[in-house]
Structures are given as structure tokens and as C-alpha cells.
């Protein structure tokens, strides 16, 4: 009966909704702030990987860290998770120095999926993703946790692999399972280390779109490390570019950061940038809309001095 009422009278629907459908879409408040202040880190005392990095992230969105190999992209991310403890400087999450936070409390705020493998004693895909619900095992029943896992598996198109062993699936599928594990953690900040590695072209695009979409949907900070400048240029809200020797070279929108000068300077590769305005793919948006995205065409590598 409630269904008929909805169609006839919109005012009554509002009443009915609260009664008939208990699962109201949650509103996702954003009140997260990550601050890095003069952070320096080195794996050995004499060689620093990061030098005085300052960064503040206080808006939801999809953030990409780009930069050449060995410049400290993963290191920054690990510092945020207390996997690396900086030699100098402080990191604050919601105003609290993470030195004073226990791993357990930090895990409530920041979800991080490293490049992980449990090949030695592989569990099924479901169990592997369920590990991501570790901090929710007390407040949620097994069915609820399974539901979250199933939703994430469906989002990443791996629900068909549910009971495959983790070591029997392909590298690209590992990647999707890893992302699903990050998503089920339901933290306001989600950090992924190269989420598109090992994925085919279709899923590179799909995963980047999904990450942008979930950041917008749930007002989250999604922070990834990325090597593909073109996909980054299209989907990132903000790009953080690192350069040698472990410093932030530029921060801003893809258009501001991914310029010819920056790319040539940071990567040592010649390039051309063209603006592509044929990229509206949303059927809900007027097809006449012009949205332009920088497209990078890479040229030859320059001989650069790597010893700096």
C-alpha cells in the first residue's frame, strides 16, 4: 500500500519513508583534516627521502600523488599511517599529533591498503576483504559485515570470485580485491598505493572513476599514488607533485600542476599538452557541455643528472 501512496501524494511519502524504509541514505559529514608540518624522513640517518614536506588536506576529494621513482610517494603515505616515523616534523590528523595516537585509533580515521599479499596462507577473497572489517567486528554482526563485503565486491566486479583463494586469482584481480578491502574499512580517509597497477585499460579508467565518485558520494578524502599522468589529469580533483630530492614541487588542480614545464622539470621528459574537450561521458549531463581536460603527449626522455 505504501508504494501506491508514494506516487499519489508526495507529502505523505515523506512520512511513509521513515516508517517503511528504515535504511535512510546516510549523510556523510566531512570534518577531517590532515596536516604534515616540516616532515623529514629517511630509511637511513644520512640519506633523507623526504625533506621538509608541508601539506594540508582539509577538503574532501580525490587526490593523486605523482612523481618519478624514488621520490618518496609511498614514503609520505606510510608516514601518514605511522608505518614510517618521521625523523623530524609532525603529522596531525584532525588536530591530533599521530605520535600520540594508537594504531587502533589511527585506523579508525585513515584506511590504507598497501601492496599486500597473503600468498603464503591465502584465504578466500571474501575472508581477505573481511579482514578490512577488522575494526568493525565488535559492533557489526557477521551478516552486516558480509553485506558490506558483498557491496564492495559488487562495486569492483569481483563478486564472482568470492570463494576463490587469494593466490589463485590474477594480479589485476588482487588489485580489485585490495581496493575493496580499503573501501569496506569505511574510514573518512582512504589511501591506496597505485590502485591501477596491473589493471587493464578498462579497469584503470573504471577504478579511477569509482575512486572519484566515492570521494564525492561519501565526502571522503581518497589519496592515491599514481603513475599514469593522463588518467590522473582527467579524474583527480587535486594533484600533489613530488620531485627530487623528496620535496613537494607543486600542488593544485591537474591544470595547474600538470604543465609542460613541471613535467619536463620533474620527470625529465619532453612533452606536449593538448586540451581535450570531448570527454563528457555522464548521460545525466547535457551533451553540449564543454569540459576540457589536459592531455599529455610524452616526448623523448632528456639526459638528466640523477646524482643530485
Amino acid at each position: 500500500m505504501a508504494l501506491f501512496k508514494k506516487k499519489e501524494n508526495t507529502e505523505e511519502v515523506a512520512d511513509d519513508l521513515t516508517v517503511d524504509i528504515p535504511a535512510q541514505p546516510r549523510t556523510w559529514e566531512f570534518n577531517t583534516k590532515i596536516e604534515l608540518k616540516d616532515v623529514s624522513f629517511g630509511y637511513t640517518a644520512d640519506k633523507l627521502v623526504l625533506r621538509d614536506v608541508n601539506l594540508t588536506i582539509d577538503k574532501p576529494g580525490f587526490y593523486c600523488i605523482v612523481g618519478p621513482n624514488g621520490v618518496g610517494k609511498s614514503t609520505i603515505v606510510k608516514c601518514l599511517n605511522k608505518i614510517n616515523i618521521p625523523q623530524k616534523g609532525e603529522i596531525f590528523v584532525d588536530g591530533v599529533n599521530i605520535k600520540d595516537l594508537h594504531y587502533k585509533d589511527l585506523a579508525q580515521k585513515i584506511g590504507y591498503v598497501p601492496v599486500f599479499s597473503n600468498d603464503t596462507f591465502a584465504m578466500s577473497v571474501v575472508d581477505t576483504i573481511l579482514v578490512g572489517r577488522f575494526n568493525h567486528t565488535k559492533e557489526c554482526s557477521r551478516e552486516e559485515n558480509l553485506k558490506k563485503v558483498y557491496e564492495a565486491m559488487r562495486l569492483l566486479h569481483v563478486e564472482g570470485l568470492a570463494y576463490k583463494k587469494f593466490n589463485e586469482i590474477s594480479a589485476g584481480q588482487h588489485q580489485k580485491v585490495a581496493i575493496a578491502r580499503g573501501i569496506v574499512q569505511e574510514t573518512p580517509v582512504l589511501i591506496l598505493d597505485e590502485p591501477t597497477a596491473n589493471l587493464d585499460v578498462k579497469y584503470q579508467v573504471y577504478v579511477m572513476e569509482i575512486l572519484r565518485a566515492i570521494a564525492e558520494k561519501r565526502n571522503m578524502i581518497v589519496l592515491t599514488i599514481s603513475h599514469d599522468l593522463n588518467i590522473t589529469a582527467k579524474y583527480a580533483h587535486q594533484v600533489i607533485m613530488l620531485s627530487k630530492p623528496g620535496v613537494i614541487h607543486a600542488v593544485g588542480t591537474p591544470q595547474e600542476v600538470l604543465t609542460k614545464e613541471n613535467i619536463t622539470h620533474v620527470y625529465g621528459v619532453n612533452c606536449r599538452i593538448i586540451e581535450d574537450d570531448q570527454c563528457v561521458s555522464n548521460p545525466n549531463v547535457d551533451s553540449e557541455t564543454k569540459v576540457s581536460v589536459p592531455h599529455i603527449i610524452l616526448g623523448e626522455a632528456l639526459v638528466i643528472d640523477d646524482d643530485q
Binding site: T56, I83, F121, E209, V251
Partner: protein, 399 residues
């Protein structure tokens, strides 16, 4: 604006952060649909979800079934084992006398008293030690393997066995074991804990990576093995025979009697429960250090705690029955093949299966062979080929 601070989102359309995903021009229709479906969640009665849950429940039922079958086997084999011996007590009678001895019934007929006493005082220690010792060694193996992320980790590779071996040897060599077996047990236990403590100390000094710990364990193992060998070269023939008998591990030696059974039981049950409570954390730890730190677990600390528990557990068993191989290393692998690597089920299942294997091996050694063989030897002879066959069969399924 300080360098490194993010500029505000600009009003250029494609850079805009869209509160409403549906109006983001860069997202394709299928992605919007998928994300909306994910955000709203699924109805509990969706067919495929129900199937997934059903499958999950089925797997769990299978795990419980596995545990149940092993438990039943233990009950029957124990009964049979209790009926063996010079004094004739039938299979069904054993349960009757065992139960009455357990609840402390005072028999009045002399025959009943004798039978109950034989069951309880002479035959029960061996059976109980087999079951609880096997369970404890198997669980210690499971935890060590998961925590050190190494399929070869067990009480051998972490040095517990060789430490215990040296401890027992030194007592037998010095002749202290002539009158009483207690010094052997105490010395074996103390020396069995040294490798574990050394591993922990070394991992505190260097980085506490699992590989470092295994390497440290193997280093300590060689030191103790060499020391034991030296003592054996110097030992007189009688001590030598004792040392040798102890080293192959047996349920027939002096460390197994009515006084020691409660200790073995308490140690193994306490260790089993402690590790079972931490099973969820062990699962997380098995996915790697970085991954577990990101999920809120202090990996280094947890690894040390678990290593200490498994060290105590293995040491407490090994010091009574001697060096029993196989059960700690191989039973976890066999159980994993059947029920998977989830420690919440793997730990109890390995305990039951380990107890079953040790009990059955002891039976086979006593019954089918004219010269009774030590339990460790029987397990290796029968378990080895079975294990190899399981490995081959599993690979056929994968390819």
C-alpha cells in the same frame, strides 16, 4: 598561501568537486549506477547476496563438521587405547571406568577398583598426553607459521626443540636423571625458552621482520645442536641411550604419568584459548606488517606476544615428551588444505586434528609393530607420504 597548502577548488567545471555524483560530467553512467547501488546498499534478500552468505555458512558448517569428526575419532581411539595392555579390560568397559574414575566414584568390588586404577593411573596419562600434547604442538605450529609468515616455522626452526634437547641432555649427562625425571623436565623447559627469548631480543635490536626472527631461531638451533652433540660424544653408554631415547620423543618415557598430565593439560588448554582469542588479530598479522599497522594492530608487539605464548606452549610439551616432530609442522598444513587459512577455525581444528594424529600414531606404534616405535617416528613414516600425496592432489585441482 604557504607552499604545500592546497589552493581552493576552482570553478572550472571539470575541477569542481561535485556534491552530487550524478551531475559530475566526467563519470560515466555505469559508474554512477554502481556507486549509487553501493552507497544505498543491498537489500538483505537479494538472491546473489543470499547465495554468498549461504555459501559462507556452508563453509563454516564444514569446518565444524571437520572438528566434530576428529573429536569422534579421538573418543573412539582413546577408548581402544585404554583397553590395550596386559590386564584385560574390554573396549566398552573403558568408558565406564574412565567416567567413574573422572567423577571420583568409590568402587567397592576389588575388580572394579583394580580396573579403574589401571585405566586412570597407568593408561590414561599416555592417552591424555598424546591428545593434549598433539593439540598444543599443532596450535603452536599454526600460530608460529601465521605470525612469521613462513610455512616452515615450527618448534624446530624457532629453536625450541633443540633448546629443550640440550636442557635434557645436560641433565642426563650429569647423572641427575638417575633418581628422578623432574630435573630433566625443568632443565628442558628452561633451555627451551632460551631460543624464544633470544629471537625476541635479537628482533628488538635489529628490525623485527619475520625473516630475521626465523634466521635468529635457526642460528640458536645450530648452537644448541652442536652443544648437544658434544655432550653426547662425551657421555657414557647408559646416558647416551637415555639421551637418544629422549631425542626421538616418546609417550612412554618418565615424563608421562599422573602427576604430569594435569600440567600438560593446563598448559595446552591455556595456550590454546589465549591463541584462539587472538585469532582475529593473527589473521590480520598474516597479511603483512604494513597492512596490519594500517588496520590498527601494532605488528611488532603482537608478534612478540604470540611468539612468547607459542614458545611457552611448545616448551611445556616438549619438556615432558621429548622432541616430537611432524605434528607441529605438518598438521597445520593438512588442516589448512581442508578448512582454509582463517585462524578462527584453523586454531581449534588444528588442535583437535593434532591431538588425533598424535593419539593414532601412538596406537599404530604400539599395536601393529612388534617392537613399539616412538610416536614421532610413526607420525613421520605415515604422515610424510600422506602429506606428499595431499600436496600433489591439491596442485592437480589448481591446474
Amino acid at each position: 598561501m604557504p607552499f604545500g597548502a592546497l589552493p581552493p577548488f576552482t570553478e572550472v567545471p571539470y575541477l569542481t568537486y561535485y556534491d552530487n555524483t550524478d551531475s559530475d560530467p566526467l563519470l560515466s553512467g555505469s559508474v554512477i549506477e554502481s556507486v549509487n547501488a553501493w552507497d544505498q546498499g543491498i537489500e538483505g534478500n537479494e538472491v546473489q547476496f543470499k547465495e554468498t552468505v549461504h555459501e559462507y555458512v556452508k563453509l563454516i558448517r564444514f569446518r565444524y563438521l571437520f572438528i566434530l569428526v576428529c573429536a569422534i575419532v579421538i573418543v573412539f581411539v582413546s577408548g581402544y587405547s585404554l583397553s590395550l595392555g596386559a590386564y584385560n579390560i574390554s573396549f566398552t568397559e573403558t568408558y565406564y571406568y574412565f567416567w567413574n574414575a573422572l567423577i571420583g566414584t568409590n568402587f567397592t568390588v576389588q575388580e572394579d577398583i583394580t580396573k579403574a586404577s589401571i585405566i586412570w593411573d597407568l593408561r590414561m596419562p599416555r592417552v591424555a598426553t598424546a591428545v593434549f600434547g598433539g593439540a598444543a604442538l599443532a596450535v603452536a605450529g599454526v600460530a608460529m607459521q601465521s605470525v612469521l609468515k613462513n610455512p616452515l616455522a615450527d618448534s624446530y626452526t624457532t629453536g625450541v626443540s633443540s633448546g629443550a634437547g640440550f636442557g635434557a641432555t645436560i641433565v642426563m649427562f650429569s647423572g641427575l636423571a638417575m633418581t628422578s625425571y623432574i630435573p630433566v623436565v625443568i632443565s628442558a623447559f628452561i633451555f627451551a625458552m632460551i631460543p624464544t627469548l633470544a629471537i625476541i631480543a635479537i628482533s628488538k635490536m635489529a628490525s623485527a621482520s619475520p625473516t630475521t626472527m626465523i634466521m635468529a631461531g635457526i642460528g640458536v638451533m645450530y648452537i644448541f645442536s652442536a652443544s648437544t652433540t658434544v655432550l653426547m660424544l662425551w657421555a657414557d653408554p647408559q646416558s647416551m641411550a637415555d639421551i637418544y631415547a629422549w631425542q626421538v620423543g616418546s609417550l612412554a618415557n618418565g615424563g608421562v604419568n599422573t602427576q604430569t598430565v594435569p600440567i600438560v593439560m593446563v598448559c595446552s588448554i591455556a595456550g590454546l584459548i589465549a591463541l584462539w582469542i587472538m585469532a582475529g588479530k593473527i589473521n590480520v598479522l598474516a597479511t603483512g606488517d604494513e597492512s596490519s599497522k594500517a588496520l590498527g594492530i601494532d605488528a611488532d608487539k603482537l608478534r612478540i606476544i604470540i611468539l612468547l605464548i607459542t614458545g611457552l606452549l611448545a616448551a611445556s610439551i616438549v619438556s615432558f615428551v621429548g622432541i616430537v616432530g611432524f605434528v607441529g609442522l605438518v598438521t597445520p598444513h593438512i588442516v589448512r588444505m581442508f578448512i582454509g587459512a582463517d585462524n578462527k577455525y584453523l586454531i581449534p581444528a588444528s588442535a583437535i586434528f593434532g591431538g588425533m594424529v598424535m593419539l593414532c600414531a601412538d596406537q599404530i606404534g604400539r599395536v601393529f609393530l612388534t617392537t613399539p616405535l616412538p610416536v614421532g617416528v610413526v607420525m613421520a613414516f605415515i604422515g610424510g607420504p600422506v602429506f606428499l600425496w595431499l600436496i600433489l592432489r591439491r596442485h592437480k585441482e589448481v591446474w
